[in-house]
């Protein structure tokens, strides 16, 4: 498990221990990665985050068209592995969780413990730091710092 | 020279309803093929449940395998079908004596001798047991007969405190890492499935604990799975161990809870002795 923000670690570890998930990715709704577990290549993390955020955005758009409230969960079930995408509120804004799991667990269990994860993150989040203007060099520096955190380099 | 086992097997194959399984089972025992002997004996009991000789064969096979409690149950069944059966009385006497209970062995020996008064071997055995019950010889015999190797796989079933489980077909005790501490478990076909089952038990314990906790039911006490051919009972004798019992499907469901309590106490006593 790798996290950008240390306070995410404990609730996330608890989720990983209980849910039996194979891959887990937490990101902002803009696709910025917050934490990951199970991925071995940074390019896969980036791609999964971007695609996951896009799927959630598309689903939100469908909900708008249908004039219904946003769908909480998107489930893709496969023959050997399945994928759950779930948007949830945090003190830091709307985040998205992407979880890949196999037959050793179930979507019911993943959902059950994901709910606990969301509640745990809400409790663990420290007050948000004051926002500041993002300069190009800051962005690249922060991106590289994120990658180092996520992959331990 | 033809192989008698092969001949008997061929006879049984050509006429599955025949009683030749009795001779075949005995031949397999004598040849030191316990698994095959067990299969034949079990098949015989299933086909002839009211035949004392089929239960007698099964009991002898089980006794060979060290499954004293199952052997005792089979011999008791023989006596129900054929009171005074010499083989069953001898067998039960043997088991009692081996368990360090010469006093328990004596009635069976005397009953067998009563049915076969000319049997010198039985007469000597009776005399020996009576002597053994007097003083120092009895203590020595008891100590020798009850010596337990605490870490031997079959010790758990025969160990002190597990006597209530005479008809338990399997008992396995694990640590929290899913490693076997003691006991064995056989599948209905006689194969040893102890390690295969042990591999699943740690997960069962974890699931049960988690479910009870998250559903606000408190600490879990036991889990049972009832199937047409046997009941599985899983419980935590201590925080760091898991116990599984396999009971015959004929055991009333209501008894399973009582058995669970007895089993937990017995396992704790056993662990204390081991420590």
């Amino acid at each position: 498990m790798r996290v950008i923000e240390p306070w995410v670690a404990e609730p996330l570890q608890s989720f990983l221990d209980e849910s039996g998930a194979r891959l887990t990715l937490l990101m902002t709704s803009a696709g910025q990665v917050i934490a990951q577990d199970g991925f071995t290549r940074s390019v896969d993390v980036m791609a999964a985050a971007a695609l996951g955020a896009a799927i959630v955005a598309s689903t939100d758009a469908i909900a708008d068209i249908m004039t219904t409230s946003a769908f909480g969960v998107v489930l893709h079930q496969g023959p050997k592995q399945s994928l759950v995408l779930r948007a949830f509120p945090t003190p830091r804004g709307r985040w998205i969780g992407l979880v890949v799991f196999g037959s050793e667990t179930s979507v019911g269990l993943v959902q059950l413990f994901f709910q606990e994860l969301a509640e745990g993150l809400a409790k663990a989040a420290p007050p948000a730091p004051a926002t500041r203007a993002v300069l190009a060099e800051n962005f690249e520096y922060e991106l590289n710092a994120s990658l180092r955190s996520l992959f331990g380099r | 020279m033809t192989d008698p086992i092969r001949e008997l097997t061929a006879q049984l194959a050509s006429d599955p309803q025949s009683l030749v399984f009795l001779e075949l089972g005995e031949a397999l025992r004598n040849r030191g093929q316990p698994a095959a002997a067990y299969k034949v004996a079990r098949m015989g009991v299933n086909r002839y449940p009211e035949l004392a000789a089929s239960h007698d064969l099964l009991a002898r096979v089980l006794a060979d395998q060290g499954d004293r409690h199952a052997a005792a149950e089979a011999w008791r069944r023989v006596l129900e079908l054929s009171p005074g059966h010499i083989g069953a009385n001898k067998g039960l006497a043997f088991l009692a004596f081996r368990a360090g209970d010469p006093e328990g062995a004596l009635p069976f020996l005397e009953s067998a001798l009563g049915a076969a008064p000319g049997d010198e071997g039985l007469a000597i055995a009776v005399q020996r047991v009576r002597t053994a019950l007097d003083g120092a010889a009895a203590r020595a015999a008891t100590a020798a007969a009850t010596a337990i190797a605490p870490l031997a796989p079959s010790a758990l079933r025969g160990a002190e405190g597990f006597e209530p489980f005479e008809d338990a077909r399997g008992v396995v005790l694990l640590d929290t890492q899913g490693l076997r501490l003691a006991g064995t478990l056989d599948a209905p076909d006689g194969s040893d499935v102890s390690d295969a089952v042990a591999a699943h038990l740690q997960g069962v314990s974890r699931e049960a604990s988690r479910a009870a906790r998250l559903l606000d039911l408190g600490a879990w006490e036991n889990v049972t799975a009832e199937s047409p051919d046997g009941h599985l009972l899983v419980l935590p004798p201590t925080q760091s161990t898991v116990l599984l019992l396999l009971r015959d499907a004929r055991v009333p469901v209501g008894r399973l809870g009582l058995i669970a309590e007895q089993a937990a106490r017995a396992a704790r006593r056993w662990l204390e002795r081991l420590a």
């Binding site: 037959s103 667990t105 179930s106 979507v107 019911g108 269990l109 959902q111 059950l112 709910q115 | 399997g170 478990l185 599948a187 209905p188 076909d189 194969s191 499935v193 295969a196 089952v197 591999a199 699943h200 038990l201 997960g203 069962v204 699931e207 049960a208 988690r210 479910a211 009870a212 998250l214 559903l215 606000d216 039911l217 408190g218 600490a219 879990w220 006490e221 036991n222 889990v223 049972t224 799975a225 009832e226 199937s227 047409p228 051919d229 046997g230 599985l232 899983v234 599984l244 396999l246 469901v253 209501g254 809870g257 669970a260």
Partner: protein, 116 residues
């Protein structure tokens, strides 16, 4: 069409039963439920399904047939589950002093009714 409500009701009528539900076994999701206040149906479904599956694998590895009843007994209650056909489980949550004998009977009869 199977009457799910009727099947659940016959179980919840038993004294001491806090709730009954029909659960998708492989997914651990609720199909139908009749629960008292304070019971988290999603949690019951997911956890009961997972435990039942685990016990089934243990029983199979012991050479036994698929269990027809799985029971978890805890300090403050009991969870029962029986197969109800088509990857379904009928699950009941009972108080400690519930009439488990009757609950088991109703569960099995309700499950048979659903499976037919």
């Amino acid at each position: 069409m199977r009457n799910l409500g009727e099947a659940l009701e016959r179980v919840t009528r038993v004294a001491g039963i806090r709730g009954a539900m029909l659960v998708s076994e492989s997914d651990g999701l609720v199909v139908a439920e009749a629960l008292a206040e304070g019971l988290d149906g999603a949690a019951v479904a997911a956890l009961a399904a997972s435990l039942t599956l685990r016990l089934r694998r243990t029983a199979t590895s012991a050479g036994l047939a698929v269990p027809h009843v799985v029971q978890l007994r805890a300090e403050r209650g009991t969870v029962l589950s029986v197969p109800a056909g088509d990857d379904l489980l009928l699950v009941a949550v009972a108080e400690r002093d519930a009439n488990l004998g009757l609950a088991r009977l109703e569960l099995r009869q309700a499950a048979a009714q659903l499976g037919s």
